[in-house]
């Protein structure tokens, strides 16, 4: 039996996080810091998992945390706390000020210039309270409907890891000693199904499908999610191994995004200034075929990677990373920009502690003209990859080798599922060998790519 009643969300306790963040910055400056930055985050989450029709888990909670980064000249340190009592905040500040004494003078350290700070104006459409609007029983029903649709789809779907519904909201405030203060809220909801199919001899396969959105209105129907999950799972049944071969490989959009993610990692300022990237020093040079265009855009309304400002208070922007195969820009925060004598691209990502890293806005491969179906129909013998296993990419050398499963293509059609194989190559060459880019770009997260075809890879098998 499902719980008949789930508490509706209690109204948020209105602590003024903006004032708090500014106050912490003021107190850090009073304590002798020459620059300071404070981030406050609060969030709520709800999740439920229904398995074989029964509620298995129900989780609902909220939390908040605060972090401060201080500079003494060019020495930096950071501290964080989940304790918002005045004692907890005092201790956080005090340890930051002390910790900064033991770090090194770094000529490139510091927060952004005042002139670089700012927040995009206008509504980025990132927050919809409706993700929490469903009454408890209906949330559970979303999960149940997704799972049921997958179980009912075919008798070979015999088991399930369940259907789920998740919702979350987050609120972030950033303030610094140049007087910047900004805040934004984001919301998220998702519905997913993970069915398991079984052949008569007992061999099992699992796959999944999901829909994710910033508002319930854009969430796909649970029935659709469950059906697609079932189809994706069934097509893996009876998978076999193939012989080692050098054939064209087509990447499903669920895995092609990982290919362009390697460009992201390669143009990440942190690995560029260290020379730890196969793309370091390649600015203005060809790194991919003419057909390859890659964009990072943190300003897209409703985007999963959108925000009005980055982790350092710099407005987000649209950056062309690869233009017709030519590397046009690295992706940078303030520190890595200074190291490379460039300007920040507004890609700073900040956790609670430590130095800011670099994160994507909405980062994507620009789609081409053909349909995925055309791409497949043009392959005489080849592999269609639906899933990767492991993380076998070496950004320094470009060496690439990953476990894979998918479907074998023969005469332009899927003929049977394959598994326990590897796909290997080198990233330096792979981006020149993207021979086709399809037209099916769809964002299911901050990073997205359409179906693509690569040539010149080694498929490792028996």
């Amino acid at each position: 039996m499902p719980p008949t009643q789930v508490e509706t969300r209690s109204p948020k306790i209105e602590t003024d996080l903006r004032d708090l963040a500014q106050d912490i910055v003021r107190r850090a400056m009073k304590g002798g810091a020459t620059a300071a930055e404070c981030v406050v985050r609060e969030g709520d989450e709800f999740s439920t998992l229904v398995r074989l029709g029964q509620v298995e888990t129900l989780k609902e909670s909220g939390s908040k945390s605060i972090g401060v980064r201080v500079f003494f000249g060019q020495r930096a340190a950071s501290t964080y706390s989940s304790d918002f009592s005045s004692k907890g905040l005092d201790r956080m500040l005090k340890s930051a000020l002390q910790l900064a004494k033991i770090t090194s003078e770094d000529p490139f350290g510091g927060i952004p210039e005042a002139s670089q700070l700012g927040s995009l104006s206008g509504d980025l459409d990132l927050y919809h309270e409706d993700v929490y609007s469903l009454p408890g029983p209906q949330r559970i029903d979303y999960a149940r409907r997704a799972e049921k649709a997958s179980l009912d789809f075919d008798p070979r779907i015999k088991n399930s890891e369940g259907g789920s519904f998740d919702a979350a909201t987050g609120h972030k405030v950033l303030a610094n000693s140049h007087g910047f203060v900004g805040e934004y809220r984001r919301s998220y909801c998702s519905v997913a199904a993970v069915p398991i199919a079984q052949t008569e001899d007992g061999a099992m396969q699992r796959d999944y499908w999901f829909s994710v959105a910033r508002t319930l209105k854009k969430l796909e129907a649970p029935e659709h999610v469950g059906k697609v999950a079932a189809e994706r799972t069934l097509r893996r049944l009876g998978a076999r191994k193939v012989k080692t071969a050098h054939v064209p490989v087509i990447f499903d959009p669920m895995v092609s995004s990982s290919i362009i993610e390697h460009i992201f990692e390669g143009v990440n300022g942190d690995s560029v200034y260290r020379g730890a990237s196969f793309l370091a020093g390649k600015l203005g040079q060809k790194i991919a075929g003419d057909n390859v265009n890659v964009i990072d855009d943190g300003t897209m309304p409703g985007g999963f990677g959108s925000s009005p400002f980055d982790g350092e208070g710099v407005p987000t922007r649209r950056t062309v990373v690869v233009d017709n195969g030519v590397l046009k820009s690295y992706l940078l925060n303030t520190y890595t920009a200074k190291k490379l004598s460039l300007h920040t691209t507004g890609n700073a990502s900040r956790g609670l502690a430590g130095t800011p890293g670099i994160g994507p806005g909405n980062y994507f491969l620009v789609p081409g003209g053909k349909t995925p179906k055309q791409l497949i129909s043009e392959v005489k013998d080849g592999l269609y990859v639906t899933e990767f296993l492991g993380h076998g990419a070496n950004l320094v050398t470009g060496d690439y080798s990953r476990g894979a499963s998918g479907l074998w293509i023969s005469g332009g059609e899927f003929v049977y599922p394959v598994e326990e194989i590897t796909v290997a190559g080198n990233l330096k060459e792979m981006f020149f060998n993207i021979s086709e880019i399809a037209n099916d770009l769809e964002f299911r997260g901050a990073v997205a790519a359409p179906t693509i075809r690569l040539d010149g890879l080694t498929v490792g098998g028996a």
Binding site: K59, K64, G136, G275, S401, G403, N426, G460
Partner: protein, 483 residues
């Protein structure tokens, strides 16, 4: 700091409060409820370009409340340890239960547990300057190793996790869990060629650990050695072949190929490729695999798991026969098996589930030299990045970061990193030799499951697998490998 009674002293908790919270959790019924209090303090330092570029400290504390009713779990947490907020979390978690209340909570009893990491001064409380010295020494040693080492990044991280777990079955457990590690990553460069290397280690240890055998220099030189070696690596082969795994970290094979598949939750739900295989042969008779949470000072060890149950040594595979699963309280109760003390969680924000601790294969009788000599044409893999498994179809990968060709019984050229892929339920049936040189990893492993990360250990002696798929790029010719 007194490790016992931490929450009683710092938050004014009393046993009657705990009983009241548990009663609230069970107010709508349910079979079991527990509270997990956590207070985590941590430090991290990073040296890059020979400068201490980053230093941070932080504190995170909270309480998670769980209510179990049949197969259902309700969970809520709070980062505010006031009675009002804990009671609110308890009533939220209670929403999962819908039967009349029947369980009462009266009195707690503490099971005797080991003291596997009796540090006198937890490293989080040690002088920060001593930690800075460690990372600076690592940086220096890596740079001194070889002039081709051009970039070095050394980091140090430690934490102290104080926990209190109480359950409606009378469970009462406190623990103070230290954890520390040093990591070094290097890039070696020559004209037109670069390669990376990495190493690190630690455990549930105090700072003095890094002044013993496992100094920062030890890890730095190891990272530098790997980076320089990789400069000359040639293409890895592709296809099925004989594979020899070196001792220690290559035990990640066991973690991926069998460990996850033997976690009880997957088997209770029959979603694991290992479901129903207890008593069946899943490995050659030379293979005995255990999970052992009771090894002193080890990264994967725990005095009690995150449900308050003492950890133990659990035999997973004995002489090739599948013996048992790794269980938490929920799976133990639902499956009618014993709780092996493997219920773990990332933090108070997370629901516990069956997880590994230190997973390794016992030593065999073969000498490592004989194992290498027995291979005509294959791969010798000694260091790995990480791995991953699909527990349902059993396919797993692990990525070699240092490997060599074996040709006619001799180790020859280093090869580039390659992913190895196999099938969990049968890969160990092809283990034909097991070395006498069991070694555990240095203590940097972190395992992820359902988005929860926990520290683990792995270990293995040198073993020979007669056939495994190697995912390289080299084109094979009938006689061997083309250069």
């Amino acid at each position: 700091m007194n490790k016992n009674r931490f929450f009683f002293e710092h938050y004014g908790l009393a046993e009657r409060d705990l009983e009241r919270y548990l009663a609230a959790a069970l107010s709508a019924g349910g079979d079991y409820a527990d509270l997990y209090f956590e207070y985590l303090s941590s430090t991290s330092l990073m040296v890059d370009e020979s400068m201490v570029k980053s230093a941070s400290q932080g504190i995170s504390a909270g309480c998670g409340v769980r209510v179990v009713s049949g197969e259902r779990t309700g969970y809520a947490y709070t980062d505010d340890l006031s009675a009002e907020r804990i009671l609110r979390a308890a009533s939220t978690a209670a929403l999962i239960a819908s039967a009349p209340a029947k369980t009462t909570v009266a009195g707690f009893r503490q099971k005797s547990a080991r003291s596997l990491y009796p540090v006198t001064l937890p490293s989080v409380d040690a002088e920060i300057t001593a930690k800075v010295e460690l990372v600076m020494r690592a940086d220096k040693a890596a740079r001194a190793y070889d002039p081709r080492i051009k970039e070095v990044r050394a980091s140090y991280a430690d934490e102290l996790r104080n926990i209190l777990v109480v359950g409606s079955d009378g469970t009462f457990a406190e623990d103070s869990q230290p954890l520390a590690r040093v990591n070094v990553s290097c890039i070696a460069k020559t004209e037109g060629n670069s390669a990376r290397g990495g190493s690190g280690g630690g455990g549930r240890v105090a700072l003095d650990f890094f002044f013993g055998d496992k100094t920062p220099e030890f890890f730095a030189q190891e990272a530098a050695r790997q980076a320089v070696l990789q400069l000359d690596a040639r293409e890895a082969p592709a296809g099925d072949m004989e594979v020899v795994l070196g001792p220690g970290w290559p035990g990640v094979l066991l973690h991926e190929a069998v460990g996850h598949g033997l976690e009880a939750d997957f088997n209770r739900k029959k979603t694991s490729a290992f479901a129903g295989l207890i008593g069946k042969r899943v490995a050659s008779e030379k293979c005995t695999v255990v999970d052992n949470g009771t090894m002193p000072w080890r990264r994967g060890s725990l005095n009690v798991d995150d449900e308050g149950e003492p950890t133990q040594e659990t035999v997973l595979i004995e002489k090739g026969i599948l013996k048992g699963y790794l269980s938490d309280k929920l799976s133990a109760r639902l499956m009618g098996i014993s709780d092996t003390g493997n219920g773990r969680r990332e933090s108070y924000e997370h629901i516990p589930m069956p997880r590994m601790t230190n997973t390794y294969m016992l030593a065999g009788e073969d000498s490592p030299e004989d194992i290498i000599r027995s291979v005509k044409h294959g791969v010798y893999a000694v260091n790995f990045g990480g791995g991953q498994v699909d527990i349902t179809n059993g396919k797993f990968v692990f990525s070699a970061s240092e490997a060599y060709m074996i040709e006619n019984g001799k180790i020859t050229a280093p090869i580039k990193g390659a992913t190895l892929i196999g099938n969990g339920p049968d890969v160990l049936t092809r283990v034909s030799m097991v070395g006498n040189d069991l070694k555990l990893d240095e203590g940097v492993g972190t395992c992820g499951k359902d988005g929860q990360a926990v520290p683990v250990g792995v270990g293995i002696p040198t073993i020979k697998i007669d056939r495994l798929t190697v995912g390289g790029t080299a084109r094979k010719d009938p006689g061997g490998f083309m250069q």
